[in-house]
């Protein structure tokens, strides 16, 4: 068979046509049976689809409907079109919260990734009691956020707390980790990295474990240094997992309510107010349901765009 005829045969095969020719079309009985199977599968799927619609789609549609009205927690109120969306984006508080959400997300994603990857690499080396370290390092992720937030509050809240005392001893004076707006933002971001790095460590450890060791051996033979190996081999080989973990962590960070709300409540004076905290406070503290849900929807749109962009990146990696 010539190259051309092989290619043609493959094309035909892809199109569902036999290599030997078009042949006879399937009998009508077979076709009917196939159709019947398709309908059966569809009918089997209907209950699940219905439940999916009820549990997921219905609340989303209802929330969308609420965002177009001026109601409260009990009464849906009058239809106001996109007024809530327009009002929300005209408020400086919204953009302040958006900027902080961006900072919080960027620091949360890349901070936890860097720490997770570093520890993942470290744990691959032969360190004593490696299993124990792995378990201990998972604790920030495993412990409920309420407990972690209480612990961090104890660490930083008052001038007599351990970290302010340490800062004072080191000559930094009276450091107000939560009361100073900038320091509160930094503290919240560091808290997020601390809570999230074990997840990244798990993801990166599993990705690192899947890299074929012969690749490293070959690079060693070729004379690659540690940095070159890391940059040219490790990072590309784990890039798919890295992108997936970035997408997940982006979603976790943007939607992260407890980390911020329990530690600072969004304060002082809204300094640590992210979009999700703003949405909550608008609905449940200020009782403005329409604008609050509008904020949540705007957040979701941005999140979907970011996720799509990162997914495209994954597809690119797959193709390459």
């Amino acid at each position: 068979m010539s190259t051309e005829s092989v290619a043609g045969a493959l094309k035909k095969a892809r199109n569902g046509v036999g290599v030997a020719g078009s042949g006879r079309s399937p009998s009508s009985g077979k076709r009917n049976r196939a159709m019947s199977h398709t309908w059966t599968f569809l009918l089997f799927a209907i209950p699940s689809l219905l439940l999916l619609v009820l549990l997921n789609l219905y609340p989303v549609i209802y929330a969308g409907w609420q965002s177009l009205r001026n109601g409260d927690l009990i009464d849906a109120g009058a239809f106001v079109g996109f007024t809530n969306y327009v009002d929300v984006v005209q408020q400086p508080g919204f953009w302040h919260a958006a900027v902080f959400t961006l900072v919080f997300t960027v620091v949360g994603v890349f901070g936890s990734w860097a720490a997770g990857l570093g520890l993942g690499l470290l744990l691959r080396t032969k360190i004593p009691a490696g299993g124990l370290w792995k378990v201990l390092l998972l604790l920030p992720w495993v412990v409920p956020t309420v407990v972690s937030a209480t612990s961090w509050n104890w660490l930083v809240a008052t001038p007599q707390s351990p970290l302010p005392e340490l800062a004072k001893a080191l000559g930094f004076g009276n450091v107000l980790f939560l009361a100073d707006p900038l320091l509160a933002q930094i503290t919240v971001c560091v808290f997020k990295v601390w809570i999230s790095f074990p997840f990244m460590m798990m993801m990166m450890s599993s990705a690192l474990a899947s890299v074929d060791t012969t690749v490293y051996e070959a690079s060693k033979v070729d004379g690659a240094g540690t940095w070159q190996t890391f940059r040219q081999i490790t990072l590309p080989m784990i890039s798919r997992t890295t992108y997936v973990s970035w997408i997940l962590m982006t979603i976790f960070c943007v939607n992260d309510f407890p980390t911020i709300f329990l530690l600072t409540g969004g304060g002082p004076v809204n300094a640590t107010q992210s979009l999700v905290v703003l949405a909550y406070q608008t609905v449940f503290q200020n009782y403005q349901v329409g604008p609050g849900v509008a904020i949540a929807f705007l957040m979701t749109i941005v999140l979907v765009i970011i996720s799509v962009l990162l997914y495209r990146q994954i597809r690119k990696v797959n193709i390459e």
Partner: protein, 442 residues
């Protein structure tokens, strides 16, 4: 032939039918609107009483016992009891009331009744209170307390227990500083200065995550000076000379270093730990502060005297928690009969020290158990007569916009944090607050 249950008998069509039925039932259940309200007739359906954890772990146990011991008259419904946690209670009540699956009678947030009244969900308590004029309960309420529940359309609820704000001091720390208990704003400033020399804060309070005390205390200082947040027309009126003077005074306390620099972000637990660490010598909080602080320090903690402001006035703020009746009840007469029973029998909640706030009835305050409690006696004697509500200075009766704009809202928290941060001036902070409240009223 007898039917046999076999795998084959469970046909594909049967399975699909069953699955479809389940889905349809779920859909119908999700979309059903509940039973709706009913009028004043009798009913065999029990009425639902929802109460909050107002005290320690013993509170709801005893409260449930009292509720379930209710024996209704013939034709009236009995009562069921449900404890509702504070976590997400707004959502719990809102969704239940909106779907007509809520209680017939409940307590809840201090301004919840006024929100639900605005939405037409509350059964006003006027006829109940009229009936209490003949059995003595009406006259048993503390002076001015019923007035706080009165709206333009009627009494939205019945006072249940009092959440108050008052001053506290550590008598040992004041003694070490060589100062007496202050009775005026000037004296208070001197006390703060003396405490500062010993490394102790005299303006102890917090306004951090979940802690609304800071905004309460700042409002209390405004009321103390003859000001407040709402005028007689029930409109927000924050930028007044009385309020400006009060906030300038507070800012002076902050800028002089009499307030903990981290106070703006202190949770209730942080505040209590500062009292425990003897870093707070004088401060502002609720009636249960000493009990929450506990330990040796608690025995040194004493409720202070109300301060006289430069305007010559005394004042403070309290939050009368209340019990409300809903239109969605199996029987309105039943709701009223149950509440009459409950108010006649609820004194045990205080006499058995379940940790509930101050009592609304004089007969309970006069019991030997409460008379033996110096905190209760001091607050009811010296503070209660001077208390105002969120509605001050325009009035005492609470109303919808209070719930909607100042009670635990973000503008109030921001206001408190900006004042306690000390990097603002009174007029700017009050103007920002005024604009924010007006924004929420739109």
């Amino acid at each position: 032939m007898a039917s046999e249950s076999t795998g084959a008998a469970f046909t594909r069509r049967g399975f699909l039918g069953l699955a479809g039925g389940v889905a349809a039932t779920t859909l119908l259940a999700a979309c059903s609107g509940g039973s709706g309200g009913s009028g004043g007739g009798g009913s065999s359906k029990p009425l639902k009483f929802w109460n909050m954890p107002w005290g320690n772990t013993e509170f709801n146990k005893l409260d449930k016992k009292i509720t379930l011991a209710y024996k209704p008259k013939s034709g009236l419904p009995s009562a069921t009891y449900q404890e509702i946690q504070w976590a997400n209670f707004t959502q719990t009540f809102s969704s239940a009331v909106a779907s007509n699956t809520g209680p017939a009678v409940s307590s809840g947030g201090g301004t919840q009744a006024f929100q639900f009244a605005h939405q037409g969900k509350i059964a006003y308590a006027d006829s109940l209170l009229d009936s209490w004029k003949s059995n003595g309960i009406y006259d048993d309420f503390l002076e001015g307390l019923l007035e706080t529940m009165k709206t333009d359309d009627g009494y939205a609820a019945v006072p249940y227990n009092l959440d108050v704000r008052c001053s506290w001091y550590n008598k040992t720390l004041l003694s070490q500083a060589g100062v007496d208990v202050p009775t005026s704003w000037d004296e208070y400033k001197q006390v703060c200065a003396a405490l500062k020399k010993n490394g102790v804060y005299g303006f102890g309070l917090g306004s951090g995550a979940g802690n609304f005390t800071g905004s309460h205390i700042l409002t209390a200082f405004m009321i103390n000076n003859g000001g407040g947040l709402f005028n007689k027309k029930k409109e927000p009126d924050c930028v007044t000379s009385e309020n400006e003077e009060a906030m300038e005074y507070v800012l002076e306390l902050v800028k002089n270093g009499y307030s903990d620099p981290a106070a703006a972000t202190y949770t209730s637990a942080n505040v209590q730990s500062q009292w425990k660490a003897k870093k707070f010598g004088y401060g502002w909080d609720g009636a249960g502060l000493a009990a929450s602080v506990g330990g040796d320090v608690a025995t040194d903690m004493v409720v202070g005297d109300p301060l006289t402001s430069p305007s010559g006035k005394k004042g403070g703020i309290y939050f009368p928690n209340n019990i409300m009746m809903y239109k969605n009840t199996p029987s309105q007469k039943g709701s009223e009969a149950f509440l009459t029973y409950y108010y006649k029998n609820m004194s045990k909640l205080w006499t058995q020290k379940t940790g509930i706030g101050l009592p609304p009835l004089k007969s309970i305050a006069d019991t030997s158990v409460l008379k033996a409690d110096p905190v209760t006696v001091k607050i009811l004697k010296d503070w209660n007569p001077i208390y105002g509500t969120w509605a001050a200075p325009g009035g005492k009766g609470l109303f919808y916009n209070i719930a909607n704009t100042v009670d635990g809202t973000q503008p109030m928290i921001n206001f408190a944090q900006s004042i306690l941060g000390g990097k603002t001036d009174a007029k700017t902070a009050l103007t920002t607050l005024q604009n924010a409240i007006e924004g929420l009223m739109k």
